[in-house]
């Protein structure tokens, strides 16, 4: 059982991060430039962050534990992101042009999770997922899981072999836990996110992988908290909430609550000054805000879900 102190701190960190994220988008930060076409020049500048907005907002709405203000903020963010991708048309045009590109599908999956639909895009995605080419793209194993989860969210007929996909990841090999590098840690977190769809299916993580995560997650969290990798620490806390009973305690949440700013910003890492320029500060810390909201949300959802199941 999660201790109530953890739940209250998680709730506080997550809701304050949501306030920061919502205020930034309300004030027009992170918009896709008006003249954007399907061949995005710099997808990481606005397009990818919009996908993250759709992700966090749709998971918050799905879990329904955010309270009235958080729920309203999530709804507004999702409406805003849907508008930015021209109600799916931008994704449709990009996918129509690029058969094997997976990002339109991945973004759309988050909208679909919350019921924002684009029938022509779905027909296109269904057709593409029947191509051998769609499954032959040489991408990392955890990225393949991202695509499979997006297909699951959209409800495409293609049924992946989840166990085979999972087995090909870093975690699937249950390697020496001390060999995990910084980038590998992010691959691990994403493997868990996609297999469990951000905590919706804790059993989606095969048991040997879950045992491995439960054994070593406290170490990874401790090691990266010590050097102030707050963004990664938050992703590890999401993982902890996606695998059933938590394997870590108060350490991570207390540390993150202590570094969160009054306006809700959570610094990406300790060894980096937060810019006083709001645009720059938003660009640098929006990902950390997204993972902070998600970490708070799935931690609460898991604990409340467990409570309901036990009752």
């Amino acid at each position: 059982m999660t201790d109530t102190h953890v739940l209250s701190v998680a709730q506080q960190v997550g809701s304050r991060a949501m306030t920061w994220l919502h205020a930034a988008h309300r004030d027009g930060l992170g918009r896709i430039p008006d003249n954007t076409v399907v061949d995005l020049a710099t997808p990481n500048d606005a397009y990818k962050p919009l996908g993250e907005i759709a992700l966090v907002a749709s998971v918050v709405l799905r879990d329904g534990v955010a309270g009235p203000a958080g729920t309203r903020a999530a709804r507004e963010l999702l409406d805003y992101a849907w508008e930015e991708v021209r109600e799916g048309d931008l994704l449709y045009e990009r996918q129509l042009r690029h058969v094997t590109m997976s990002d339109p599908l991945e973004l759309y999956g988050h909208f679909a999770r919350a019921g924002y639909r684009h029938p022509a895009l779905e027909e296109l995605l269904e057709s593409i997922s029947r191509l051998r080419a769609a499954h032959a793209t040489e991408i990392q194993a955890n990225r393949r899981l991202a695509v499979a989860n997006a297909r699951r969210l959209v409800g495409l007929s293609h049924q992946p072999d989840w166990d085979a996909l999972a087995a090909r990841t870093w975690l699937g090999a249950t390697p020496e836990p001390w060999a995990v590098e910084w980038e590998i840690a992010y691959q691990i977190t994403h493997t868990v996110f996609h297999l469990t769809d951000w905590g919706a299916h804790p059993d989606g993580l095969p048991e040997p992988m879950r045992d491995h995560v439960r054994d070593w997650l406290p170490v990874w969290l401790d090691v990266w908290l010590e050097i102030g990798q707050w963004d990664l620490a938050l992703e590890l806390l999401i993982v902890d909430a996606c695998i059933g009973e938590p394997a870590t305690g108060r350490q991570g949440w207390d540390a993150l609550a202590a570094v969160q700013h009054d306006d809700g910003l959570v610094p990406r890492e300790a060894n980096e000054a937060v810019s006083s320029d709001r645009d720059e500060s938003f660009r640098e810390h929006q990902h950390t805000a997204v993972v902070a909201v998600l970490a708070g949300d799935v931690t609460l959802a898991r604990a409340l879900g467990t409570g309901a199941a036990a009752a």
Binding site: E176, P177, W178, V219, W220, V223
Partner: protein, 244 residues
């Protein structure tokens, strides 16, 4: 001119390397620590300090390899405990650690004609009180207790909390503190010799530290003891794994 204390520390550290190197030789079937001393001359104090510091490990060849009794090594250890001033630890916690190290030395000396057992000091807090991180650092400081034939409350906690030891080992590996990692891996080897299932594959850890660690004889001694303990749990693999 260097500060006196710095040079004393350097003298002791150099002596520790010599004594650990000799003990390592003995573990591999060579001569013991007593070969360091000419019986007709006075034992230099830094060397005696090194013997005091390595404590029970001086007799690890007898405990681990079935080597015959090493009277001179036991006599040196007894002399070190008699002649040197009692260590002056900076904190109560450090005093407890030293107390347990001395207990271990007393236990192994009691099997020789050179000493007798000392009563166990106060118990140490476990991982539930300290957290697995601080507890494992403490256990690294007590690695000399991870020897066959020594048993007590520290060992009971180690037996019961193998996962915490393994987490401490991985944590130290990732902090690239391979000296602490070696001492914790030795506890895992001990747990394996006790028949406890290990959540971590210790062989690759020992190999990694051997290749990427400080290369000191003292760390080498920890690794060699860990390897011998590990081999006790898997006699069939003893031939395949050469001692580090």
């Amino acid at each position: 001119m260097p500060f006196a204390e710095t040079s004393l520390r350097d003298d002791y550290a150099a002596a520790v390397e010599r004594v650990a190197g000799r003990t390592l030789d003995a573990l591999r079937g060579g001569g013991g620590a007593a070969a360091l001393v000419d019986p007709d001359t006075a034992v230099p104090r830094p060397l005696l300090a090194a013997v005091r510091l390595l404590g029970a490990d001086l007799l690890s060849p007898q405990l681990l390899t079935g080597a015959g009794p090493d009277g001179p090594a036991a006599a040196l250890l007894a002399e070190a405990r008699r002649a040197l001033p009692a260590p002056a630890p900076p904190s109560r916690e450090a005093a407890l650690v030293i107390g347990w190290q001395d207990w271990a030395a007393g236990q192994v000396l009691a099997r020789t004609p050179y000493g007798e057992a000392v009563p166990p000091p106060a118990p140490l807090p476990g991982p539930d009180e300290l957290g697995w991180q601080a507890w494992s650092v403490r256990m690294a400081q007590l690695s000399v207790l991870a020897l066959p034939g020594l048993d007590g409350p520290v060992h009971d906690t180690a037996r019961a909390r193998v996962l915490a030891l393994a987490r401490g080992t991985v944590r130290s590996m990732m902090r690239r503190d391979l000296t602490t990692a070696a001492r914790l891996a030795r506890w895992l080897g001990w747990a394996a010799a006790e028949g406890r299932p290990l959540p971590l594959d210790v062989g690759p850890v020992l190999d990694r530290i051997r290749l990427a660690g400080d290369g000191s004889a003292r760390t080498g001694l920890e690794l060699a003891v860990a390897r011998l303990l590990l081999d006790r749990s898997r006699p069939s693999t003893a031939e395949r794994n050469q001692a580090p």
